[in-house]
Amino acid sequence: MNRLICTALAAFCMAAFAADKPETEQRIRMLSEKLRCLVCQNQTLADSNAELAQDLRQQLREQVAAGRSDDQILDYLVQRYGDFVLYDPPFKATTVLLWVGPFVLLGIAGLVLVVTLRRRRRLPEEPTLGADAQRLVQRVLGPADEDKRGGSPR
C-alpha cells in the first residue's frame, strides 16, 4: 500500500516535472529505474519519494540536460555511493558469489538428487534375509514353501 502511494506520488512528481522533451524524460526514467534509493533501500530511485531520491533525480535531470552519457551518469553515482547504488551489481571479484552462488547451489542440489535416485535404484526391491536368519526361519517354520514372505504357516 505504502509502496503504491510512493509510486503514485513519484509518478505524479515525474509528470509534474515533465516539461522537457519526452525522450529526455524517458532517459531519466530509465536511469532512475536502474538506481537504488539509498534511504528506502528496496526501492528504485524512480519509485522512491525520499528527499535524497528527489535530489538525485534532480542530479540525473541536470546531467542529462548537460549532455552526459548514461554510463557517465551511472559512474558519477557509483563514485559517490558505490556499486550498491546500482540495482544490477557488476560482475567483479567481490560479487562472484552473488552471481554464481545460486547456480552452484542448484548444481549441488541436482547432484544430490541424481546420487540419491541412483542409490535408491540399486537397493533391492525387498529386503533379503541373511544366511543366518534364513536358517533360523527354516528351523522355526519348516522348509520353505510357496508362501515365501512368511506369515503364519499354521
Binding site: 539509498l38 534511504v39 528527499e51 535524497l52 535530489d55 538525485l56 559517490r80 555511493y81 558505490g82
Partner: protein, 174 residues
C-alpha cells in the same frame, strides 16, 4: 546416525549465516570514498555567510567533517559526544550543515552547544551528494593529505570513537 547428521549440519550452517546476518547493518553501505581524496567544495560559513571555506584550508591537519542538521533526530544522540571531544581539543571538528535553514541551525547549536570550529552551509545538498551522504549524521575522518580515512554512517558511538576514530587519528598525526 548418518542420516540424522546431515540435516543437523545444514541447520547449523544456516544458523551460522543467520547469526552473522543479524549482526550486519544493511544500512551501512561501504563508502567508495574511503581512501580517496575528500571531494572539494567551496561553501559559505553558517555564522559568517560572507566568508567561505574550502577543505584545502585544512591541509596538514587531521580533522573530522561531521554532517548534521537541526531536523536530524539522531544528530542529537551523538552531539554530546562531539561537544565533549571538542572540549578536549583532540582534533578539529568541522560541520557540514546539510539541507537546513540557517536560523534553525544556529538556534540548534545555541541549544545543544557548538562543537564545530566552523560549519559550512550545504543548503541544496549538492556537496552532500559529492560525499555520498544518504543518512545524516555522517562523519568523515580526513588525514593531513586530504584523504578520507574513515566514514561513520549514523551517529558516532563512544565505542566507534574510542576504538576506531581516535586510534586512526593518532596514527595519522604521526
Amino acid at each position: 546416525m548418518k542420516r540424522a547428521f546431515w540435516p543437523l549440519a545444514i541447520f547449523l550452517v544456516l544458523v551460522g549465516f543467520l547469526a552473522v546476518g543479524l549482526k550486519l547493518d544493511p544500512r551501512e553501505v561501504p563508502s567508495p570514498l574511503v581512501g580517496k581524496p575528500a571531494p572539494a567544495f567551496d561553501l559559505p560559513l553558517l555564522h559568517q555567510p560572507d566568508k567561505r571555506f574550502v577543505p584545502a584550508d585544512m591541509r596538514g591537519k587531521v580533522w573530522l567533517l561531521n554532517v548534521w542538521a537541526s531536523w536530524c533526530v539522531s544528530c542529537r544522540e551523538e552531539h554530546p559526544l562531539l561537544v565533549e571531544l571538542s572540549r578536549k581539543g583532540v582534533l578539529p571538528i568541522l560541520g557540514l550543515n546539510y539541507k537546513d535553514r540557517g536560523d534553525e541551525a544556529q538556534r540548534w547549536l545555541k541549544q545543544f552547544g557548538n562543537p564545530y570550529q566552523l560549519s559550512v552551509v550545504d543548503a541544496d545538498g549538492r556537496t552532500g551528494i559529492d560525499y555520498g551522504v544518504y543518512g545524516v549524521p555522517e562523519t568523515y575522518l580526513i588525514g593531513p593529505d586530504g584523504v578520507i580515512r574513515f566514514k561513520q554512517i549514523g551517529p558516532i558511538t563512544p565505542a566507534v570513537l574510542e576504538q576506531k576514530i581516535l586510534p586512526l587519528a593518532l596514527s595519522l598525526k604521526q
